[in-house]
């Protein structure tokens, strides 16, 4: 079991499953829609994980950047009549530029000051969207955001096609995320999370590295936001709200912060749990809130982390046994040798 779902096999299995998934639900638009939404959230949370889980900077402005991506696509397509693809590219660029500018200032603050600063930046983005009627439609939101323009013969007018489009972006996002985490750059980020002081004495320019990882993180949020706008075709200011960033955080923490599978596990689990508890919607936080607290206290690396440490323990025991056996054998040998002498 352990071997089946980890490493290359596990990845191929999950990929195959997600490619085949729509075949079982061809006439159930709703299930496909929920799945597509959860893929979009995973993209956003992957970005959050990169910054909070690997570089160690908890940004609570992440929903704000998600909204910037979504509103960029929304405004560019509905008000400027721009092609969706161009709008999506521009949305990511706009998010990165704003993220870069804000990052320079925000990253001057450290630890809890950074969390408060970004929380408030996020809230300001929300207020701005909510109040700037002329541009964003205010509380009424933006309606009539078009579906992605067709590419040659491929059209995106069905739930299935949107599913595959988002899946493609998801796979790409995860691929890039994994590459970054496992590179020297990723090691640099982990060193910063571990101890900024130590990282500096190792010759790491913490400010530049934090800024780059911040920009990469908001790029994920911007991309996810842009896709979200086109999927739901209606966006309101609440996507920038505090509730949204708390949702992201719950998914990330329960799944496993600082792990590569955590964002996927957490998001899937909660999105579907929320669907099953539909009638319970208003009060789901009665359960989610305490779960968050319990997870942080007892399983600080979430479900993914708990799984890994269980596996480690299991393998570790096996290895120790092996070591012991070889130790005993070598002891036997030496005792035999000494007797011979």
């Amino acid at each position: 079991m352990g071997k089946l779902l980890t490493g290359r096999n596990g990845i191929l299995f999950m990929l195959g499953l997600s490619i085949l998934f729509p075949l079982f639900f061809l006439d159930n638009r709703y299930v496909l829609y929920v799945m597509t939404t959860s893929f979009i959230f995973i993209i956003a949370i992957y970005g959050m994980n990169l910054l909070a889980g690997y570089t160690g900077q908890l940004s609570l402005a992440h929903a704000g950047f998600f909204a910037i991506g979504a509103y960029s696509v929304g405004i560019l397509t509905t008000k400027a009549g721009m092609n969706f693809w161009l709008a999506l590219v521009l949305a990511v660029i706009i998010t990165c530029v704003i993220g870069f500018a804000l990052g320079i200032i925000a990253l001057r603050t450290r630890e809890h000051f950074f969390a408060i600063y970004t929380l408030i930046v996020g809230y300001l983005i929300y207020l701005l969207i909510d109040k700037w009627d002329g541009l964003t439609g205010g509380v009424r939101g933006l309606i009539g955001i078009p579906i992605p323009n067709s590419i040659g013969p491929i059209e995106f007018n069905s739930a299935v096609s949107m599913y595959y489009l988002v899946l493609l972006f998801l796979v790409l996002s995860i691929f890039i995320g994994v590459r970054i985490v496992r590179s020297l750059t990723g090691r640099t980020y982990i060193a910063i999370r571990n101890s900024e002081e130590l990282a500096q004495t190792l010759g790491i320019n913490t400010r530049t590295n934090k800024l780059v990882s911040f920009v990469v993180s908001v790029a994920y949020a911007g991309l996810a936001g842009g896709l979200y706008a086109s999927l739901t075709r209606f966006i309101g200011p609440e996507i920038a709200g505090i509730e949204m960033v708390f949702n992201f955080l719950v998914y990330l923490i329960v799944g496993g912060i600082g792990t590569l599978t955590g964002p996927i596990v957490g998001t899937m689990l909660f999105i579907w749990l929320t669907q099953f508890l539909q009638s319970f919607q208003e009060y789901r936080m009665l359960i989610f809130g305490p779960i968050l607290v319990v997870i942080v206290i007892f399983y600080p690396t979430g479900l993914a982390g708990a799984f890994y440490s269980l596996k480690h323990k299991w393998l570790g025991n096996k290895e120790q046994k092996k070591e012991k056996i070889s130790e005993i054998e070598s002891m036997k040998k030496t005792s035999i040798q000494s007797r011979e002498v």
């Binding site: 001057r108 000051f113 600063y117 408030i120 809230y123 955080l249 942080v296 206290i297 600080p300």
Partner: protein
């Protein structure tokens, strides 16, 4: 000119509430070393307890406030024992996340029990009174008077009692406090209790003006952060100055700039301050 003084008075009222919440936050910061995002939940529960005690038992406003103070103080101690104490050696990010978990929980709990609608809180001080030509509600005067009284009492407690001195020592320098042999557990519980008391008083005083609803803690806690950062984390005089600055600038801003954007004033103020001074306005260089 009359409008100006009127708004100044409103600013003082607003500032008094921020000060009470901010002092609790700043004291707890000394214990946790991270901002307690769940402080807003104490404020929220404080408001509801006062409201519901009045409704259920038909008791006087002041008695309801006392009931609320006791409940919230106990709740704050529970928070410290059950959540923050087990996390005291965990990375700072975990405290924050656990606190957010509690915020989500209490908000949902309140919605479940008393609905998501806005409640009006009755007060025996609803009459309009005139002071030096300005008309204002007696409640606003009450807010300022009680807040001032509480701050003075707190000051005496912190300065004149042993446990008060320990709390102050911890708020300013946690490691140092451990070195001189302060009972960290007792001080931590006491500090949380005080922060709960202050939050309950603040919520009970402000609710007749601002209404009671599940998200009532959000804006207040965000603004309390602004207050505490302006004043420097861990500093009580700083929180008082910060609270006044914020209350008055918001009140005047709402009148003379834009009522729509008045909530932005606090946050823009904070952004500007933290941009210029990443560790807060009155932060000192330390070892």
């Amino acid at each position: 000119m009359e409008l100006f003084f009127q708004q100044l008075l409103n600013g003082l009222t607003l500032g008094s509430v921020y000060i009470l919440v901010g002092i609790g936050l700043t004291l707890v910061f000394g214990i946790l070393h991270v901002p307690n995002f769940a402080h807003g939940s104490l404020y929220l529960i404080g408001g509801y307890m006062t409201l519901m005690t009045m409704k259920w038992f038909g008791v006087h406003y002041f008695i309801a406030i006392i009931m609320s103070i006791i409940t919230v103080a106990l709740l704050a101690v529970l928070m410290e024992r059950l959540v923050f104490n087990p996390l005291r050696d965990a990375p700072a990010i975990h405290d924050k996340i656990a606190a957010i978990g509690m915020v989500l929980f209490f908000e949902a709990l309140v919605s479940l029990m008393w609905g998501t609608e806005y409640h009006r809180m009755q007060t025996p001080f609803g009459d309009t009174i005139k002071i030096a030509g300005m008309s204002t509600s007696a409640q606003r005067i009450l807010v300022i008077a009680v807040a001032a009284m509480v701050v003075v009492l707190l000051y005496l407690f912190l300065k004149k009692t042993m446990i008060g001195a320990s709390i102050l020592a911890m708020a300013q320098n946690r490691e140092g406090a451990f070195l001189v042999g302060i009972n960290a557990n007792a001080v931590a519980m006491m500090t949380f209790a005080i922060s709960g008391v202050l939050a309950a008083i603040a919520a009970s005083l402000a609710s007749p003006i601002n209404l009671v609803f599940p998200a009532m803690g959000h804006l207040v806690i965000l603004k309390a952060f602004v207050v505490v950062i302006i004043g420097g984390m861990g500093s009580i005089p700083g929180a008082i100055i910060g609270g006044m600055i914020l209350g008055i600038s918001e009140s005047l801003g709402a009148t003379y700039i834009s009522n729509d954007y008045k909530d932005m004033i606090a946050f823009l103020l904070l952004i500007i301050i933290m941009t210029a001074r990443p560790k807060g306005l009155f932060a000192k260089e330390v070892y």
